[in-house]
Amino acid sequence: MKFAVLVYEGPYNHEASDSAYNFIKAALKKGHEIRGIFFYHDGVYNVTKLMEPPQDDRHIANRWSELGALGIDIVACIAAAKRRGIVDDVLVPNVRISGLGQLTMMAIEADRMVTFGD
């Protein structure tokens, strides 16, 4: 199945980001395709390289970047990002900022869109 994943919450504050990541890892392991990952609302904070969690904790932005390195399209919404000070300069590699049109294409092209967040 072709999944798209929509993440509404920022990292660490809320489990949504971890759940989304675990879902994607499990889906890939089962042989499913991830059409894309879209960060919206505070979700855009997931992909800033400025985060520096303690070394014994997971590095959430780097985890997304690793998924991006596999060729998965990872997009932070430009309107949501601009509100929150997330710009190209602070992105981890393999992630891009783009418009809601990208979310639209994911919703149209994926068999299922799975949303994580409140």
């Binding site: 919206y40 609302h41 418009g99 809601l100 049109g101 639209t104 919703a107 149209i108 869109m113």
Partner: protein, 132 residues
């Protein structure tokens, strides 16, 4: 030609107090420009987003009632409200915003108040559902 995909939005949160509903509205306005069959269902506290007479001045934030009141102008006309959510909040159809006007008759258009069975049936027909 590829089949036009049905995409539903559900609005379940109160319009103010968090940004979900406002940013959710932005998604609807963008998605309306694409080739998709859009419907919007207001349920739970989401019905407050369609309440007439909102005033966000004291909150110090920009309100968006006017935009919800013009969804039809964005070619989003399939707008439904869950009857039970509405009634359990002490509201009636008369409390709801006008969402535009009929192109020909210029009569005001109202959101359609429907039962849970109708919504369930509509959900079952969707390609994807986005929740705000």
């Amino acid at each position: 030609m590829a089949e036009v995909k049905k995409i539903m939005f559900t609005v379940r949160k109160a319009p103010h107090g968090s940004i979900y509903v406002y940013e959710g509205l932005e998604v609807k306005l963008i998605m309306a420009a694409y080739d998709a069959d859009i419907s919007v269902v207001f349920m739970d506290d989401g019905v407050f987003a369609l309440q007439k007479g909102q005033n966000t001045k004291a909150l110090g934030i920009k309100g968006f009632e006017a935009t919800y009141g013009a969804l039809v102008d964005y070619e989003i006309s399939k707008i439904y409200v869950d009857r039970e959510s509405l009634l359990s909040r002490g509201m009636t159809e008369a409390d709801l915003l006008v969402i535009g006007e009929d192109e020909e008759s210029e009569e005001p258009l109202h959101p359609q108040v429907v039962d849970a069975d109708f919504i369930a049936n509509l959900m079952a027909q969707q390609h994807n559902i986005l929740c705000f």
